[in-house]
């Protein structure tokens, strides 16, 4: 497979490229069983994580992935309050360019900032979440997890996204990739948290009964993004939990019907799910975390730094 310089979203990947990344992730995951979990593949390369938004697991997942490939890993601390405009991002990039990093993993609150960075550096840029737009490595690790669960072929399986769809780049990217791989997808969310540009072929439900009638194989719980809810989209957390959350009572039915549960983390216990979901035998949440490292190693293995700075000022 020909390498690419950047990974910015799912849309720009070909089916062959997606297949390449997902199938290579299997041998990467097998490495975790070895006594030496590290391979020398990226020895001498530098991976820099540049997070303009807080992150619990994505950042450390990338750092572990890069470390297991023997890259040197640095994180660049950004003063989240001072840096908001594109211009200062470019100043930062000029600095990073001078540091000669090979890979930049970036998360930013605004859409398309990773694209802007990618055009202005010779380093490979990986989008680790931009605004409400995309989170491609999350989508790839979710797809990888689903393939593991369904024995390699996810076609015809059904996945329902529940929660804050409007503010979720995870819902956007993962939903898109699931549909590309031949899955059926649907949504359950308060009307105020459903994006207006939803394709009409995606079923939208008002309550859990309707969702069960649709017979999902997987329920993908989204995090209620407290930090983005400047204006209230629903009356209270308690009310959200009782209407949309995966409560103890709803978990009984989910268990009876053998439905898998996914969540991108970090979870808000008592909001989108109840404590007992964490011990549910068909919860894929820990598997998603482990797979995240393998998939990110696979992405780093495939990307190749070089050219750009507006395609070398062509």
């Amino acid at each position: 497979m020909k390498p690419r310089k950047d990974l910015l979203d799912i849309q720009s990947l070909t089916d062959e490229e997606i297949e390449f990344v997902l199938s290579n992730a299997i041998p990467f995951k097998n490495l975790f069983k070895r006594s030496v979990k590290k391979v020398p593949t990226l020895r001498g390369s530098t991976v820099l994580t540049l997070f303009y938004e807080p992150s619990t697991r994505t950042r450390s997942s990338f750092e572990i992935a890069a470390t297991r490939l023997s890259a040197d890993v640095t994180n660049f601390s950004v003063n989240t309050s001072a840096v908001v405009k594109g211009e200062s991002v470019l100043d930062t990039i000029a600095t990073l360019e001078a540091m000669r990093t090979d890979y930049i993993v970036v998360r930013h609150g605004s859409t398309a900032i990773p694209n802007l960075i990618a055009k202005n550096t010779t380093a490979s840029v990986i989008n680790a979440g931009d605004g409400f737009h995309a989170h491609p490595t999350q989508a790839l690790l979710d797809a990888f997890t689903l393939r593991e669960v369904f024995g390699g072929d996810v076609r015809g399986s059904r996945i329902a996204f529940v929660g804050d769809i409007q503010h979720s780049r995870v819902a956007r990217s993962t939903n898109l990739l699931c549909r590309r791989m031949g899955m059926s997808t649907s949504m359950l969310a308060p009307g105020s948290l459903i994006p207006r540009d939803m394709p009409p072929e995606i079923a939208v439900f008002q309550n859990w009964d309707q969702l069960h009638d649709w017979k999902p194989d997987v329920i993908y719980l989204l995090r209620v993004q407290m930090e983005r809810l400047n204006v209230p989209f629903f009356p209270s957390i308690g009310e959200y939990h009782s209407i949309y959350g995966l409560t103890d009572e709803r978990l009984k039915r989910v268990r009876d019907e053998g439905i898998y549960v996914m969540h991108p983390g970090p979870v808000n216990r008592g909001v989108e799910l109840t404590d007992s979901v964490m011990n549910y035998e068909r919860s894929l949440i820990d598997q998603q975390v482990e797979n995240g490292i393998a998939v990110r190693m696979s992405v780093l293995y495939w990307l190749k730094p070089g050219s750009s700075i507006e395609e070398a000022k062509s």
Partner: protein, 189 residues
């Protein structure tokens, strides 16, 4: 890459220098040499992906009755290459398969052609990340010379002297649909 040179990689432009029978005989010779010199430690054959794997499998069949505990494995050296950064095409990973404990084993790495020694170096590095073998040796069907590293094959099917532009190509039925060895004149650019 131009069409002509692309074809040259896959289409042998001369008769094979070794036939199916020749190859079988060379592999039998390697097995014989292994039987003569390997006693004591448990023996493991590890094929280097891709054409080292059929060589290891064939040796396994020939040696199994002599070594009831004989082990078989595979290494995919893609993650250990020293030239990954310069490749135009990133190799699809097959992955290694060492499903046994390597500690204390006498390992014979198998590959179809020994040339610069860089592949063997990568394979040795990878093996050592799986454990601490007692001993590692190398078995190759063809040794064409041209070493760039201090690597030595203990078991060799056939030594061949070729000039640096020439390519020694081994075909195995499992991979290529036939058993044959070709020498090709340089793939020029």
């Amino acid at each position: 890459m131009a069409k002509a040179s692309h074809d040259a990689v896959f289409m042998p432009d001369s008769a094979p220098i070794l036939s199916k029978q020749d190859i079988a005989q060379r592999i039998e010779r390697i097995a014989e040499a292994i039987r003569e010199s390997c006693h004591g430690s448990p023996l493991a054959l590890v094929g280097i992906h891709r054409r080292g794997v059929p060589l290891a499998e064939r040796l396994f069949i020939l040696l199994k009755s002599h070594y009831p505990e004989l082990l078989l494995g595979r290494v995919d050296i893609s993650l250990y290459r020293d030239d990954l950064k310069s490749l135009e095409i990133i190799p699809k990973l097959v992955g290694s398969d060492i499903s046994f404990d390597l500690d204390g084993k006498h390992v014979i790495l198998c590959d179809e052609v020994l040339h610069t020694g860089r592949t063997s170096r990568a394979a040795i590095d990878e093996l050592l990340d799986y454990g601490r073998p007692k001993k590692v040796e190398l078995a190759v069907l063809m040794d064409r010379g041209g070493r760039e590293l201090p690597i030595y094959a203990r078991y060799v099917g056939e030594e061949i002297s070729v000039n640096p532009q020439q390519r020694v190509q081994v075909h195995f039925e499992e991979v290529d649909g036939e058993d044959a060895v070709y020498v090709q004149n340089g793939v020029r650019r």
